[in-house]
Subunit: 253 residues, 2 copies
């Protein structure tokens, strides 16, 4: 079944994330978005605004996964080099795209902004790419083969994901179950691993958190095989209930 | 000068980030922390709980940068495989570390928790590694050569960074200046790039945001050469002031 499930990587491009200035909110959004489409996000990377770094990451990730989604670096300023870098990664020329020029020229005329050289730089698109519409501020992203190049501004990136979604092959979404266990990971670890061994088609994760009355653990089960998932869920639920009843669940780790 | 500046990468380990279940807060924290120490964070990656993926990322990043910081996967449950994976990356054995065993045994006795097999799994440390103390829940992280392996729980990771800091070579922190420009990137792009060309030792970034009265742009200048930084800052400030005065600054892009 997994052979039929599309895979994906995310590449966040920008010095501002690595410098700490900007706290990324795009990865989590894209992760949720792809999960809902049944596309498995397998890897993410963050690279600075350096062409060689962007080229290397784009080529490594586009070769390995069904799709690559990038955010950042498509604005009008000198530090926006994503389009040129993606063109270099595909070894194709980049120039002003007539459709993008038309969109931006009309938009700037409409809102009374000068269509200056810098703004029209946002119409530079690698040869062979298909535009991704930007309903927020018009400057388009683009799709080059299996690579989707989006803005870094969350509101614009989110609108672009909606434009992209119809172009994507969909998978079977993972079904997810969560049990909030009033004990520590160390209390439940052994029986939990035994359930994991019995249900290889179910991915079982354990995530401690601080509850109002002490530390507790979220037990998360994920699978595309709902029958196996609910069997595993019942077993984990029984284990958690027994541990609490026996007073063996004692909080964090 | 840059030859004397330590570099770093961050590796976030865990299915929960790629599935969207957990929204990472560690990268931004570590980025800020390293910036304050004058260590340049150059790259970040997120990989799932799969040994081959962790090994490949650890070996790629530790070879390339002065330091590698990892978060996640050092708990007691079956899905915590970071310690084993780092041992595999370095091709060294992993076993119960006597100092870690002593710390955990004493702690579990003190708080009345069973030192069961799963909990004591947290004392398994690759051969040759040095422990990183965990003042929150005692289960230690470890340093293996230039790789620092930390917990994924933010509160614990943050305490571990404080334990690690004295072991790190410090660089010259980047000085940072910010100008909030009441206009769009497209208004300032051309003169800004001319300033960038005149000051190669200053990194100038442009980040649009939505202000109460419309879109605006943060112009961020970063450098280790404070004299050049403040000269460039004065030029950018003059450009921004003139554009607003001339009514040429017109918001987003």
């Amino acid at each position: 079944m997994s052979a039929t499930i599309p895979t994906a990587a995310v590449l966040l491009i920008g010095d501002e994330i690595l410098s700490g200035r900007t706290k990324d909110r795009n990865l989590g959004y894209i992760a949720d978005y792809l999960a809902a489409l049944g596309i498995d996000l397998k890897e993410a990377r963050v690279v600075p605004d350096i062409e060689a770094e962007i080229v290397a990451a784009v080529n490594a990730l586009r070769a390995r996964y069904t799709y690559l989604f990038t955010t950042g670096g498509i604005g009008p300023t000198h530090d926006d080099i994503t389009a040129e870098s993606v063109a270099a990664a595909f070894d194709v020329p980049i120039d002003h795209n007539p459709k993008a020029v038309a969109i931006l020229t009309a938009y700037f005329a409409e809102i009374g902004r000068e269509a200056n050289e810098a703004r029209m730089r946002m119409a530079r698109i690698p040869k062979g790419a298909v535009l991704i519409e930007n309903p927020v501020s018009k400057a388009p992203g683009f799709q080059m083969a299996n690579v989707f190049v989006m803005a870094g501004v969350p509101r614009i990136m989110q609108a672009m994901m909606d434009e992209i979604a119809p172009r994507l092959a969909k998978g079977v979404p993972m079904a997810v179950r969560n049990i909030e266990f009033r004990g520590g990971e160390g209390d439940v670890a052994k029986p939990l691993s035994q359930v994991q061994d019995r249900y290889p088609s179910v991915v079982i994760g354990s995530y401690p958190f601080q509850a109002p009355d002490g530390f507790a653990t979220n037990l998360v089960l994920r699978s595309r095989d709902v029958a196996a998932l609910d069997k595993a869920l019942a077993e984990v639920q029984a284990i958690a209930t027994d541990l609490v009843a026996e007073g063996k669940a004692r909080g964090w780790s």
